[in-house]
Symmetry: C2
Subunit: 786 residues, 2 copies
């Protein structure tokens, strides 16, 4: 601790909470009954086939980074087309073109390289793309000859006219070969159905060279066995975003192949005794770094070949067991129907009526996108590969992976607390297992496939845990969770955390993006304090509440900005509060990122000069046009996602429109939120203004369109906005429902006149979590004037 | 089948067998009593500390390819010094220098690069060298700076004066640093004891770049975790002779290190987010292709630091469990004493008196060398990594690896049938498990560490099985074994086996070394017939007895040589019966390798023109000086191991000296055998004339010095030679013993006048296996005249 004045321990701001009562709800009773009737009963009619409102192409144009392929809710397999085979590095230099292909697909493309089984949804960096299959006809020689690992000579032209996608199903006609490719999936098994023309040389190509974010050397090892004339097993190890990643597979064709072969493109040649074989044809064992294999069939006109591809993080045997347990038959349509049913069941957790069908498509696609991460990561028997690369068994929970926590702690996990509490419990258990397996004794920062990839800043797993505990999630060992959080926040070599602990802030000359880190550490520390409070650990509570005030150490009382500070305590010079690079902030600037004190906004307002000046600051963010030099052509801060200097296309500002409430300008929040809902989300492929970021962008939409938002996860309150739906029913645990009825809803009536909770007016801009979870009726009365 | 005349099915040659009787043994009774008394009782006195007769340096000079380090009988850990860091390839060209370093050590060297935990004993190709440790003092900077993967700048000078080795223990003073390094081992754990001088910078270096047969790109991946200040876990994957090999480790230091670090020498740089850390110092997670790590201690003068290094083929957790179960304490001397006790127990399976102490050293070191392969390959709980790279559990057996079968089926496994039948049963079970895991449905050819390396020819696993079954080994599922043998002998793409099945021989223009292959396939097929006979499968018996006669298809009745034949049936031209390269033979020529029909030598004699001409052929082999152009400077056929044109330094001729018996010249066998015993084996580092080949060369010595040899494994008979011991006791199953008493033994009395079995003269040159296993007394009466 240096000579910086320590703030007094701060407490949770004391927002006035509404008192619940038992008044009867009259005005909305009939509506509630109607809605309940609408969604009850087994099976699904046209009415509850909510999948028809989902357009998986939303976000596939430009920066949404979503994929259109087939997957189940939180499914381990994400089976989707690849329209890119660009290298990530050309002569060692980063190729910025690949950023658009984080999920493998761009809507403007006209060729498909194949279909692979693992994809992130909406992320801003990438990996995966495992096990690329492509059906072709004719010779495979030219495909095999091409030894440039980064370009395949084999692809197919396609047209969006011949393409369709729906939850759990994707279809495209491959124009080059005339093959119809259909995809569906169970949790751990991708199912391809290829309808071939008549051919003596129908091929199914298995390209193990292909990666999302591919480059020479990313493949570490590949091992393939031809178990019999229709079953293949194997694995691939890669070192990319995940440094030490292995994924196993088992593939079963519905028909025996007549011959097969492979070629290796290894730059490090094999020196051993396999040279004694002609491995290239009908040799049932393949191993090396870069392998492409082909399987040959003879097909009649219109003959379908089904290919089931099961994944496992544990072993090929595990993958085979997954395959045999999940899709023991070859009935593609049955799997497709089951997938749609699974989606309908999950989508039905929130029923809405909207002003337009387009709005409904946006809503249900957003809801769909909130269920694509984290994803299942264990075999049917509960075994999975852990962070320590050992095989573990998930005792008492289901293991998940893909924790894009810098994004998802904001609204996605809070949404799970509403509609997927059981899954969120499992996700927390998965994070605690990650901690136990971590040699750093850390919870995940950004983790996927048994790896920590260290992307972005903070240790927001603690926010997910705090939010869940504060909101009453049971089944979490609070003391164990607290210890994991304390361990995580004590790792000195992580991202300036050593200095942060000593000095109360991250010095910019020690660790870049220091203000962002200090602000987020401080919020995370506040979260840990909440967990300590629940665990009854008074000492830790006080220690972490003290750390929670560390944001003050980077507030410059002269410029009234959060501002990077040096190790010697001085402010960094020069200082440009608009610049998003090298100014102490990551993916943001002092102007917008400086508003990040979610756990003590009243104090932030005080520091910034009171509510009037604070409101002017907020206004200026939305109204000032940001100079082009601050805008990125690619990546996170693009024109697509910007309103003035407010960057909706990226996460750090997602709470900003809701901050007017704290300055007693709720109507400004309402207007901004409705503007964002209308301008930043759409029903077409370009319907997302920035990376969906594993569902965070969509979760913002779900909350906001329902009229409230979790500005500070870890507090048991939501902040009111302006709902865009006409009405909604949220299905909660214990057969409870919360009905939301929006009276006088229209495009113009964006202002909330009054909010009634079970008939009683809500006196605050805060909506307590309990109110929602107890169920009942929430009424928004709208108006076209503030 | 082409237009080649099929031989009539042949039968086992009908050698006249002696009839056992119950006559009392009088002349040897007192001796027997004496010997029994000598070796009974617990513990060991000077008398039964047989380890003192073992010189682990035998074979470490030039071509023996043995290692002097510490190991247990058939132990998984072989902890031994490395005196070489040469690359196997220089600018892509094979560097013949590395051949001398198959086991990492050459006696003439003066520097040591460290001590690693896995070594083959005596092989003629190599791999392994896992987890090289070296203690040093002073800065590690120069060691880290050196990024040439094939040369370490850190090594120590040493002198043989400061070096000692005994079974289970090795010691060397590292002259450069003054550190005394001592090594011992349990089955799965290597134990280093380093005695340091006083130093503020005592280091233990862990070099994961080093491999035996090292080259850039051989390392596939390495993963290391610093679990705490004295425990490290991790694994390394390599692709060398074993294409897809992974070995896990757990290392525990007896003292906490004060700091640590690592450097990567990867030619493919890591592209991910670990770049955000300074990984080089005190960062507890390391991953990459080529890693060297260092651990720093402060030591007082004479302070010992113990390092326990456990191995596992399954996981780091498995390695740690092995460590904690096998050496839970830090008492080096206790482990060393236990190792010696284990060796004494195994060496006591054969007790001998010899003419000289030197002979005794040669004998017990040979016996020691017969227990270094195959080696244990499973965790304490029976789990192991199988050929399919899956984790398996050895149900009802102990899993072994390192099957150098082209060598070891000849005498090593037959020796196991005498003195290690339980282990041989486990080895057969391990081979059957290999078959079950093999995607080729093949028994091992040459396998190690969960890999088939396809070295050499034939499928001699079937010989090991046949020999064991014929000799009455129980506990083998005969039908399952037969099916595995049939599957193995039916793989069309293996080494010309498809053509062999169609044509009855391997055509030279289809697959090189075709005569060797044809001859060995034919013998192996005879073995399969024996198994079929035991299994009662008459049809298979007949089919394989027919195949067993395939050697006739490569016998040229004009030149009277076995000779390479083309696919069209013609003999290959030109033909040089002396050349060892490109003439249809591998590591041999028509002259010596052509004698390979062990299962039907009478027929071979007939083909070659009768017993007189046959004997002249044998004589010429021993008496003709082979021209230099046929000799190899390196590798398998060197001057060291040659008598005339007889190559004892390599395996294909090991049965040849015994063949005189079949031509009724037993005295010539006796003379040749004694000459080989005396000239080809010695008690110094140069005491092996060629590769010990996983114990085969030593097993030849054990049998021959006892007076008999298994010329045709799969026949329940041994062929008599001339014993070199004075007397011996072989401890058999069921507390039986066979005593061998050699009367009138001397250097000159090399001829066997008479052999008595329990007092009754043996009427044949064949000694039945039953006679041995029933125990009793075998008396050789020697003379100095034929």
């Amino acid at each position: 601790m240096q000579d910086i004045e320590l703030p007094a321990a701060i407490r949770n701001p004391d927002y006035s909470l509404p008192i619940m009562d038992q008044k009867t709800i009259t005005s909305s009773f009939i509506l509630l009954l109607f809605v309940l009737l609408l969604f009850s009963g087994p099976g699904y009619s046209q009415e509850d086939d909510l999948s028809r409102w989902v357009n998986p192409f939303i976000g596939t144009h430009r920066m949404g980074h979503t994929y259109p392929g087939a997957t189940l809710p939180f499914g381990m397999v994400q089976l989707s087309p690849e329209t890119n085979y660009l290298p990530m590095y050309i002569h060692g230099k980063y190729n910025p073109e690949v950023y658009r292909y984080c999920s493998g697909y761009q809507y403007e493309d006209t060729v498909i390289y194949g279909f692979s089984h693992t994809h992130f949804s909406g992320t801003g960096h990438s990996d995966l793309g495992d096990f690329l299959l492509l059906p072709t006809t004719g010779s495979v020689d030219s495909w095999l000859r091409n030894n440039d690992l980064t370009r395949s000579s084999t692809f197919s032209v396609f047209s969006h006219r011949d393409e369709a996608a729906e939850p759990g199903y994707y279809r495209v006609k491959l124009a080059t070969s005339g093959i119809l490719a259909e995809l569906t999936a169970s949790e751990r098994v991708g199912f391809h159905s290829y309808t071939f023309p008549r051919s003596d040389s129908a091929n199914i190509l298995l390209d193990l060279v292909y990666n999302i974010y591919t480059y020479e050397g990313k493949n570490i090892w590949t091992f393939v066995r031809i178990e019999n004339d229709s079953t293949i097993t194997g694995y691939r190890q890669t070192s990319g975003w995940a440094r030490t990643r292995t994924l196993y597979f088992a593939i079963r064709f519905s028909k025996a192949f007549s011959e097969y072969g492979h070629r290796k493109y290894d730059t490090v040649p094999y020196k051993g005794f396999y040279r004694r074989f002609d491995e290239s044809r009908n040799f049932p064992e393949m191993a090396g770094r870069d392998i492409r294999a082909w399987f040959r069939f003879q097909t009649a006109e219109g003959e379908q070949i089904g290919v089931r591809v099961a994944l496992s993080s544990v072993s090929s045997a595990g993958a085979l067991r997954n395959l045999e347990a999940e899709i023991p038959h070859g009935d593609f349509e049955m799997v497709r129907a089951e997938a749609r049913q699974r989606w309908n069941r999950e989508l039905a957790r929130i029923s809405v009526e909207t002003l337009t069908d387009d709005d409904r498509v946006v809503f249900y696609t957003a809801l769909y996108h909130t269920m694509l991460a984290p994803v299942l990561f264990e075999d049917r028997d509960g075994t999975y590969r852990g962070l320590d690369q050992e095989v573990h068994h998930s005792e008492g929970f289901t293991n998940y992976t893909v924790f894009s926590l810098w994004d998802t702690y904001r609204a996605l996990h809070p949404l799970f607390n509403l509609i997927h509490p059981d899954r969120n419990r499992d996700m927390i258990a998965s994070m605690l297992a990650h901690h136990d397996q971590s040699v750093h004794h850390m919870l995940p920062v950004w983790s996927h496939h048994a790896n920590e990839n260290w992307c972005m800043i903070g240790y927001h797993a603690v926010s997910v845990i705090a939010d869940a505990l504060v909101k009453g999630l049971t089944g979490v060992d609070t003391k164990r969770a607290l210890q994991a959080c304390i361990n995580t926040s004590s790792v000195p070599y992580f991202d300036g955390l050593g200095d942060y602990q000593r000095k109360g802030y991250v010095p910019e000359d020690v660790s870049g993006n220091s203000v962002s880190k200090t602000l987020e550490f401080a919020y995370d520390d506040w979260c840990i304090a909440q967990i300590a409070g629940i665990a009854g650990d008074r000492k830790s509570y006080e220690r972490y509440m003290q750390r929670a005030a560390n944001y003050r150490h980077v507030f410059d009382p002269v410029s009234l900005y959060m501002r990077p500070r040096m190790a010697d305590g001085s402010w960094r010079i020069p200082f440009d509060p608009l610049d998003t690079h090298g100014q102490g902030f990551i993916e943001g600037n002092a102007w917008n990122y400086g508003l990040y004190v979610p756990h003590n906004i009243p104090e932030l307002i005080r520091l910034m000069g009171g509510r009037k000046r604070f409101t002017r600051c907020l206004d200026s963010i939305f109204e000032t046009r940001l100079d082009d030099r601050y805008i990125e052509k690619n990546e996170d801060i693009t024109r697509d996602g910007i309103i003035g200097a407010y960057v909706h296309g990226n996460e750090p500002g997602h709470h900003i429109p809701y901050l007017y409430n704290y300055a007693a300008y709720p109507w400004k929040t309402q207007a901004r939120v409705r503007m964002i809902i209308n301008s930043m989300y759409g029903s077409g492929p370009d319907g997302l203004c920035g990376n969906d970021d594993a569902g965070q962008m969509s979760a913002w939409y779900i909350f906001s369109s329902l009229g409230f938002y979790p500005v500070c996860p870890g507090l048991p309150d939501y902040v009111l906005g302006s709902p865009s739906v006409k009405n909604a029913v949220i299905r909660l645990q214990g057969n409870k429902t919360l009905s939301i009825n929006v009276i006088n809803q229209s495009r113009e009536n964006i202002y909330v006149k009054r909010v009634l909770v079970n008939g009683k007016p809500l006196e605050s801009f805060l909506l307590p979590h309990d109110v929602i979870m107890n169920g009942g009726m929430l009424i928004f009365e709208m108006s076209n004037t503030p």
